[in-house]
């Protein structure tokens, strides 16, 4: 071997050099289930153990005295030879399977078909005799079985991740598809309400439909939210906000459910502002979910309390904003506490499920708390003994709260010329009926090209445009209309998806507003009022 250092390199005598005596090799062969291969300083093979004889299908006699480079062509100056040079200078080397696959090409174990060659982890170390480096020792470990197992495990993780992603995509699609039929039902209820029919039986039936649509919309919203959280698509509009104002909004949302169970409801809010940096709507949703949960899992005429307060964190330095929701309801079994915030988990799976639900609410609560840099904790003395949910958020100092304008439900708008574009005919016609009942002039179409033609011909003041049209998307229709000079019209996108990001289109198409189906008619009136007042 030309590149090997010259013989008789002496290492200092004190302290003793680190290495293995060649006298030990025969003994090692008895106890080791590894390959052992020793060379002299010229890399001529001086020892192979029985393991290596078996794996190479060669006897020791046929290998001894031959150069390592001659017997194992894979050991070349370009790759592993450097490790042998190092060993002859007193250094040790570890060759991991992940970075090398193998040192010497050997057949894999009979049980493994995944690999062409045995996967190996190796060590190349100096052999020391009488204080001098006399050669090298290569220790080869067969890790094929382990690597096959790890590879399989990685593949399964990847497959599970993909399946999980498909599930999320399916949930988003399902929520979208469920929203479409809800839109015309919701419109129809509004039309019934505006029709002036005073038949008590019809009114009762209409109220049932309305309540159930609201319930369905909430379930679909939860589904959409959870799919957005899992896909990391929730975008928070974080601003300095007063947590007491957030709590009041949540109370307003949850009050009907609390009242329907005739619960005693106590609210304790501090007089001063409790400022946090957060998304008003999302934090209100979080607190409302906790209140709804308390209302659902407390027997009628129970006690529910909501506290907003501040306190120091566990480090006794950082001040926190705290929301506590307590009840004297069904409580939590201690063994189930850690799983409460798991998606689709339901503690009452075996009960009558009279309160229904998808097991999403608390998972969403945790995700929203995390997204705000906060924590959520559940406490309960046990089954039947009530529970307490504690939300902790970083307290914001030295800031002014932002306030959100509330929609004005008494608002009326002057008659306008509308165009409703939706390939779901029920949805388009029911929305048209609703608008006509309010005195507007309405055209409808289910076709994108026809929509462009009508809009340009009629110079519609308001265009309600479904995004999921065949042939051309709502985005494309909007862009064409704007490019054709329809700049004064108020063009509103309607979608079954909760946001622009959810429908996979990330482009600005100059819409004036984006509405989720079913369209909130009061909010629509507010948007139109603002739009035409500003002109």
């Amino acid at each position: 071997m030309n590149d090997a250092p010259s013989s008789n390199t002496t290492v200092p005598s004190r302290p003793a050099p680190i290495g293995l005596s060649s006298a030990l090799l025969t003994d090692l062969d008895i106890v080791a289930d590894w390959g052992l291969l020793a060379t002299d300083r010229d890399l001529k093979i001086t020892f192979v153990n029985s393991w290596l004889e078996r794996q190479t299908d060669r006897t020791a006699d046929s290998l001894l005295g031959h150069s390592l480079l001659e017997i194992f062509a894979s050991v070349t100056p370009d790759n592993q030879l450097n490790y042998y040079r190092q060993a002859l200078e007193g250094r040790t080397a570890v060759l991991s399977q992940r970075l090398h696959n193998f040192l010497i090409p050997l057949p894999p174990p009979a049980t493994q078909t995944r690999f062409e060659f045995m996967q190996q982890t190796c060590r190349i170390i100096p052999l020391i005799d009488a204080g001098e480096i006399s050669g090298t020792l290569t220790i080869i470990e067969d890790v094929t079985e382990r690597v096959a197992y790890e590879t399989e495990l990685r593949e399964r993780v990847t497959a599970l991740r993909e399946a999980d992603q498909h599930k999320d995509e399916f949930l988003a699609m399902l929520a979208h598809e469920l929203r479409n039929p809800l839109a015309p039902i919701s419109n129809a209820v509004q039309i019934l309400r505006m029709s002036g029919l005073n038949n008590p039986m019809v009114e009762a039936a209409r109220d049932v439909i309305e309540r159930q649509v609201v319930h369905m919309v909430r379930l679909v919203d939860d589904l959409l939210d959870v799919s957005r959280v899992s896909r990391g698509k929730i975008q928070l509009q974080k601003l300095p906000i007063d947590l007491c104002a957030v709590a009041r909004q949540a109370i307003e949302t949850s009050r009907p459910l609390i009242d329907s169970h005739r619960h005693h409801f106590e609210v304790v809010l501090p007089n001063e502002l409790v400022l946090v940096e957060g998304d008003f709507v999302r934090l209100a949703q979080l607190i409302s979910n906790l209140l709804n949960n308390a209302a659902k899992y407390t027997d009628p005429e129970g006690q529910i309390s909501l506290f907003v307060e501040t306190s120091y964190g566990s480090d006794h330095r950082t001040e926190q904003a705290i929301v506590r929701v307590c009840d004297n309801g069904r409580g939590i079994d201690p063994s189930l506490r850690d799983r409460l915030f798991t998606l689709f988990y339901q503690a009452d799976r075996n009960l009558d499920r009279s309160e229904g639900g998808l097991g999403i609410g608390l998972a969403l609560v945790k995700s929203l708390a995390d997204l705000h840099g906060g924590t959520i904790q559940a406490e309960s003395p046990g089954r039947g003994l009530g529970s307490e949910f504690i939300l902790r958020l970083p307290l914001l100092k030295n800031a002014m709260p932002m306030t959100l304008a509330k929609p004005d439900s008494s608002l009326t708008i002057q008659p306008l010329k509308f165009l409703v574009v939706d390939d779901n005919t029920d949805s388009a016609e029911s929305m048209a009926q609703l608008l006509r009942a309010d005195g507007h002039t309405v055209s409808t179409t289910y076709d994108a090209h026809k929509a462009i033609e009508i809009a340009l011909q009629e110079r519609s003041a308001v265009i309600l445009l479904d995004l999921g049209l065949p042939e051309l998307t709502g985005y494309e229709v909007c862009r064409i209309l704007r490019q054709s000079g329809l700049s004064e019209s108020c063009i509103i996108a309607m979608s079954g998806y909760a946001s622009k990001q959810d429908d996979g289109v990330d482009e600005e198409a100059a819409f004036d507003a984006h509405f989720l189906k079913p369209v909130d008619y009061e909010r629509l009136k507010n948007v139109l009022n603002e739009h035409f007042q500003s002109r």
Partner: protein, 210 residues
């Protein structure tokens, strides 16, 4: 023990040579351009090691430990926090998914990376200081930083010093920072510093002649 500015500059120079060799070896091995930078070099008594290391790692650490012998003997470590170690393995072994825990194969990769770095560093020290080292097989351990430091002082009354070298790996626009630590007995440390001084003086002499 505090290094003088000249000693610190000399050690930094030696470490830079070692790190560039390590980076070249890792680049060859992985096919990716690997850079290895030295943010800082300093020395301290072993009882101040934990607070000194806190700048680089905390909590649970992955340690590649290699005992070395020769005229100067001691313990060499590559320390990374577990998260950084997992990231480094993923970057170098081109893992398709981020790993949170180090499996057996990941640990072997880390041991090899540590082995290359420690071999190169001690090799450069040995070559330039005319000191020959021999090395034990590297061992990888996952433990708390406190336990790792305690293991260095347990059962020994010898006064020991530590040389700390920050190590920042840069691979495919990502970086992972760890720390190379040499722990030496006071005699070995003094010998090491004397050799560094001699080397630095020689270098300055060469420079003067130019």
């Amino acid at each position: 023990m505090i290094l003088t500015n000249d000693q610190q500059d000399a050690v930094t120079e030696l470490v830079n040579i070692a790190f560039s060799r390590t980076a070249a070896a890792l680049s060859d091995l992985t096919g990716d351009r690997v850079e290895l930078n030295v943010p800082e070099v300093f020395a301290c008594p072993i009882d101040q090691l934990q607070s000194a290391l806190a700048k680089y790692v905390s909590g649970d650490v992955a340690t590649v430990h290699q005992i070395f012998g020769g005229a100067v003997s001691g313990d060499a470590f590559l320390l990374l926090d577990v998260e950084g170690a997992a990231k480094l393995v993923q970057l170098l072994a081109k893992g398709d998914v981020p790993i949170q825990q180090l499996g057996s194969s990941d640990r072997e990769v880390l041991a090899e990376i540590g082995n290359i770095l420690l071999n190169a560093s001690l090799g450069v020290f040995g070559d330039l200081l005319q000191v020959r080292f021999t090395f034990a097989v590297p061992r990888l351990q996952l433990e708390s930083l406190g336990a790792m430091v305690a293991s260095l002082t347990m059962g020994t009354v010898e006064i020991r010093h530590a040389l700390l070298v920050g190590a920042r790996f840069v691979i495919r626009a990502s970086n992972v920072t760890g720390c190379l630590v040499l722990v030496l007995g006071v005699t070995s440390f003094e010998l090491f510093i004397a050799e560094v001084d001699a080397w630095a003086k020689g270098m300055m002499g060469e420079g003067d002649n130019e």
